[in-house]
């Protein structure tokens, strides 16, 4: 029809290729860790040749970065849902519920990502943005605390937010790596742990 149709079709194909590749990378990285994963293995898993991989990604790091971006974007979207909440009014258990649920979902949708981005073998360039994201979560929790426990000194507020994030992160790992039939148990316990930790502060 239009003369732009082939270009669009081409672009669509390119999009598909990139997804094939990032999906394959996600699998291979998850199985082997960043350092042990080979780009040839990723290309093979995606059903393309190594050359093709390098037409879409500058190098191995760029692949991981794409993965990280995809993960981070989903997380950011989850954050928005999680924190864009009239949290001032909610009772603590429900507050935690609403905050935790989308984050858990993202990690269930992206198994292995959490482990990957905690990997010691990861190049610093990739670890940094992940830490930034982590800090963003801490910041959000600080905001909640500021609203709900206004009398808490700033220093303690930060400490509390960091610890809550750490607890959340650690138990998130347990949830994600758990067998499906046990998952609910771990999710309930994750929430319970956060409640017990935050209750005396938020009251």
């Amino acid at each position: 029809m239009s003369e732009e149709a082939p270009a669009r079709r081409r672009q669509a194909r390119g999009q598909r290729r990139m997804e094939q590749l990032t999906d394959a990378a996600a699998e291979v990285f998850a199985e082997a860790g960043y350092a042990r994963a080979t780009t040839n293995a990723i290309a093979a898993r995606a059903g393309v040749s190594p050359g093709t991989l390098y037409q879409f990604f500058k190098n191995k790091e760029a692949l991981a970065e794409a993965l990280a971006t995809r993960y981070r974007e989903q997380l950011r979207a989850a954050h928005e849902k999680a924190f864009d909440v009239g949290y001032a009014q909610l009772p603590l258990p429900e507050l935690i519920d609403r905050m935790a649920a989308p984050m858990i979902q993202v990690n269930l949708d992206n198994p292995g990502f959490k482990a990957l981005f905690a990997d010691a073998g990861m190049p610093e360039r990739l670890a940094a943005p992940t830490r930034a994201l982590h800090q963003a979560v801490v910041g959000k929790i600080e905001e909640v605390l500021a609203a709900r426990a206004p009398s808490l000194p700033a220093a303690e507020r930060r400490t509390t937010a960091v610890v809550a994030t750490q607890i959340f992160g650690a138990l998130l790992g347990t949830v994600v790596s758990a067998a499906e039939e046990e998952r609910e148990i771990w999710i309930r316990e994750l929430k319970r742990a956060l409640q017990r930790y935050l209750e005396p502060v938020i009251a």
Copy 2:
């Protein structure tokens, strides 16, 4: 003096070399992760040639294993101190105090080890015993719970022990990587978090 003097001196030198090497390995592994660490870099850091490294360690894995063993042995000793406690009588805060302190100390003495042995790029042979150790901690906590919260159903007891261990591990990481002047704050918060989590169970 004695004719055995040179042998003893040589052995002492060997001992020193091994320590130089494991120390260098600890540093390099901690900085780069297992997979990215190169044996030549470790040798260079220790101030010796690659050949010398291989006179003391069969291969890269053996180096990591030596490190793991050293770490595990210190941890095991810490466990003994931590759990060989008349815990039946102690109030919860002190119980947590006594359990946490030696474990924290070991990890402060061995910075980077915790991160290393969580590394996804680690050969399974080395990851497995570390997981076993983790399980042992869980088991110990279960024992404590059995003694102090006998009415808790077994399933919940296990869940609680696992979660307490995870919380401890996560916050231990924060403690170890914190600047020295902030460390006390994080240690206090670690204990507080555990207390709040366990209090409703132990009563």
Copy 3:
């Protein structure tokens, strides 16, 4: 023309590469022996990089194995020609002629192979099949002896076959390493030696 053309062309190139590499390996192995030959030297001789060598051969041993297989297959074909002979009827000189000719030809076509596969530095996995082949030759000669010298006791038959094979092998080495213009002389003498050794037995 066809869409399969590039694939075919690629395969042809692969075939050529393998030949380049086995040829180079044959040269380098022959010059230096198995153990002193380096894979990098073989790659260089073939005009390719070390990585390319390893795209076609799993490791050094596989290269030698390919060579061994090529050699053995030619030898086996030669055996068939050599021994699939109505030998019951032929006079001894002609019998020897027919048996020796194809074996000699194979070794002239593959200079250095005989030496290589007698190399003490060779991995056992490769030496074993070569010994098996040697035994096969002995067995064939025993068959001939059984047919042509039925009164010879079995033990002596075997001894005679072994010795004939050894004589043949030794003089084959002389033939192969001789200057071309002298080769005929050595071939004639090889046959003469076998005749003189076997004549009193076969009568």
Copy 4:
């Protein structure tokens, strides 16, 4: 007693060390071939440290050379016995007997040497003198032929001598590597083969 006694004693000890080392080298070379044998293994087998080995031998090659020299000297002595024979008069079988016996004995006394010095992995410097020795044997046989078959043209005389030497060498290998209880059989067959080959020439 005398002031030279300690020097002499020292020298005697040195002599013993050299023998320990060459003996050890003979074993290790025979087991592993020249290239795969390690000087450290040789030192260990001799019960000394690597440093000591290098106090007596400049390098690995020098060790092999010492071995070669020892072997060659024994062979030379054997030659003298073998060929310093009033061969003009002896009947062929006895002539062969006398020539073969000492050579066989040397090789039985030095198992593995023959194989070692035929090793393709051997440095040229060591292979050359061995070839020279081989040529000497050929020369001696030519002399015998000149005396016993004066009508044989020089060219044929040489050819015959070379082939006789090759046959002898090949079957010598069989003799040396045979189990002890079979050795006599192979020695007899060796002589028989030589007889049959030389009989028509020497008449």
